[in-house]
């Protein structure tokens, strides 16, 4: 575990089993049996998102689903409360930097399929 992470597993039952996930495209080893938020904290992730109001960095606060600070994009679904999501091998995780852009990924073909009402 990185030495600058805030939390680490207690050495109770030997080395914990870890799995691999990606965060913003980079591979990360995180312990199993945790929430995504807990896992990322132990992997040294300090910033989970930026406040949409000021852009200031935010990270988990309550770990029980009442503060909404731990929001991450998990496997393509944005704004997941990562403290309530069980971490699984292979998850694709992205921090939420700035506001969502809904227009990204607008399907070109969907626009072209409008020809029936073109007249």
């Amino acid at each position: 575990m990185p030495t600058d992470s805030l939390f680490k597993p207690l050495p109770l039952a030997g080395r914990p089993e870890t799995v691999s996930v990606t965060l913003n495209g980079s591979a990360l080893q995180v312990p199993v049996g945790t929430s995504v938020a807990a896992g990322l904290l132990s992997a040294g992730v300090k910033r989970f998102r930026n406040s949409p109001v000021s852009g200031e960095p935010r990270a988990p606060f309550c770990m029980m689903g009442v503060c909404f600070e731990c929001l991450l994009d998990i496997d393509g679904a944005p704004n997941r409360q990562s403290c309530l999501v069980e971490l699984k091998e292979g998850m694709v995780i992205r921090t939420q930097d700035g506001m969502r852009d809904l227009l990204v990924g607008l399907d070109e073909s969907a626009q072209n399929g409008r020809n029936q009402h073109g007249v």
Binding site: P9, K46, R47, A59, C62, V66
Partner: protein, 471 residues
């Protein structure tokens, strides 16, 4: 306006039904389910977590003996409840986020991306407590978490701080966490305690109750002794708390013993008590009173826990802070009442079974006045200075709220419309109490006259697409 409003209402689809729907799998919810099932009622219990236990018994179904040793015997009590629940025959909807409970007792929930609803004859809100907001400068920085969060890391994931953390605030949970860290061999940078001489003097008046709850007292004293023996640095009567750092926490500053102090740390764990999680009860427009001692809102209930919304009950910390044992007892009482309401046991039996439980509750509550007096959170940490952020989601400061009052805002809903405090994703959970108290303080009237945010569904997030599928 609605020139093209959708005509008509969608035809009603058949909805599944159940006798009793319980929201929350903590001690109150589990105990209620067990009691109701014992009398043959059908029960569905909803919780967002994958396993039972709520927050206080978080991780109880997966706990190892090594972890039990660290967490202590009180935590272990949850195991009995959890296993009784598992064999009770109640339907457990895990990973289910309830996003609305209507006054007609229809429960709307989201599970694995699917929206569904369940009609109940009785609904038990056992949503427990959450940490009281602790608005001090810097509290929104990464690296600042609640003591409860740290406990969840410990219970749920077996994780502890990498480098020494500062525990700041007051209340039994803070010291309990410290004690658990000591037992686990985790170094603590310091406990910065806001409790001062005045608190002790106030609490002494309730010492009779404290002595009646002597087991709690004994536990507390033992706990403090362990902390002292372990040499954990202790600062008393701390004031002017503020977290230092720019992009993340680098330390905490405060005043104690007449001196200004700074402790370097990258992890600050804040706690100044817990308060009832009242999102559902407020969303039902149930009556609430302002508890002058616990400084929070409590739903008004009958002695069976029923709200002024018929068929909806509250049990456990969600109705007023009493602790895990009291929560289980209240859950059992409300479970009996709900089962009786559904016709599964005669009222006389219900009364008979409830009587010894009530006596037990009284006994377990005897310590509360003492604890509530001793650990009442300081006004400066509830009604902060102008520059401190009150609404984390929308970054509204105490000064902003005071300026709305000057503009003529009389309460939190007007303040919300003027400044967006309470409009963010947490829907007022982290700021509601502070907003009420800041406005009360600015207007010079008691909080009970100020009221609270109007709480609306969705109580938990749901996407537009998910909601559209319910149509």
């Amino acid at each position: 306006m609605a020139y093209d409003a959708h005509p008509g209402i969608t035809p009603s689809r058949p909805v599944q039904s159940v006798d009793i729907a319980i929201i929350g799998a903590g001690p109150a919810g589990m105990a209620a389910a067990i009691a109701a099932r014992r009398h043959g009622a059908s029960v569905a219990l909803f919780d967002e977590q994958p396993a039972t236990g709520g927050q206080i018994y978080r991780g109880i179904t997966q706990v190892t003996s090594a972890r039990l040793d660290i967490l202590g015997p009180d935590y272990g009590e949850g195991a009995t409840l959890a296993s009784s629940f598992a064999t009770s025959g109640a339907r457990h909807l895990a990973g289910a986020a309830v996003w609305q409970v209507t006054s007609e007792r229809l429960v709307h929930f989201l599970q694995e991306g699917r929206v569904q609803s369940l009609q109940a004859n009785a609904v038990l809100l056992c949503t427990g407590a959450m940490e009281r907001p602790f608005p001090i400068p810097g509290w929104t920085l990464p690296g600042v978490l609640t003591a409860g969060a740290a406990q969840i890391m410990l219970k749920g994931s077996g994780m502890a701080p990498t480098s020494p953390a500062v525990l700041a605030g007051c209340g039994p949970l803070l010291y309990l966490l410290g004690w658990q860290y000591v037992r686990a061999g985790v170094p603590i940078a310091a406990i910065v305690d806001t409790t001062d001489g005045g608190d002790y003097r106030r609490a002494i008046r309730h010492v009779a109750g404290a002595l009646a709850g002597w087991q709690y007292l004994k536990k507390g004293l033992e706990l403090m002794a362990t902390l002292k023996k372990a040499g954990v640095p202790f600062y008393k009567g701390a004031t002017n708390l503020h977290v230092l750092g720019k992009d993340s926490a680098t330390g905490i500053g405060f005043e104690s013993g007449g001196m200004s102090r700074t402790i370097d740390t990258s992890l600050v764990l804040l706690h100044q008590g817990v308060v009832p999680n009242t999102q559902f009860s407020w969303s039902l427009r149930a009556g609430h009173i302002w508890d002058e001692v616990q400084l929070c809102w409590s739903p008004v209930t009958s002695k069976w826990g029923e709200l002024d919304v018929p068929g909806v009950y509250v049990a456990g910390d969600g109705g007023g802070i009493g602790g895990a044992r009291v929560a289980a007892l209240q859950g059992e009482i409300s479970g009996l009442a709900a089962a009786a309401q559904c016709g599964h046991l005669p009222l006389a039996t219900r009364d008979q079974l409830a009587a010894p439980l009530r006596a037990d509750i009284r006994k377990n509550l005897s310590i509360r006045p003492f604890l509530d007096a001793l650990y009442q959170p300081k006004k400066a940490n509830r009604v902060p200075a102008d520059g401190t952020i009150v609404c984390r989601c929308e970054e509204v400061t105490a000064g902003d709220i005071r300026s709305y009052v000057e503009l003529g805002c009389t309460g939190p809903n007007q303040a919300k419309s003027f400044g967006r405090c309470g409009m963010g994703p947490c829907q007022g959970r982290q700021c509601g109490l502070t907003v009420t108290e800041v406005i009360a303080d600015a207007r010079g009237v008691p909080p009970t006259e100020i009221g609270y945010f109007r709480i609306r569904p969705p109580i938990k997030p749901i996407t537009l697409g998910e909601l559209a599928r319910e149509a």
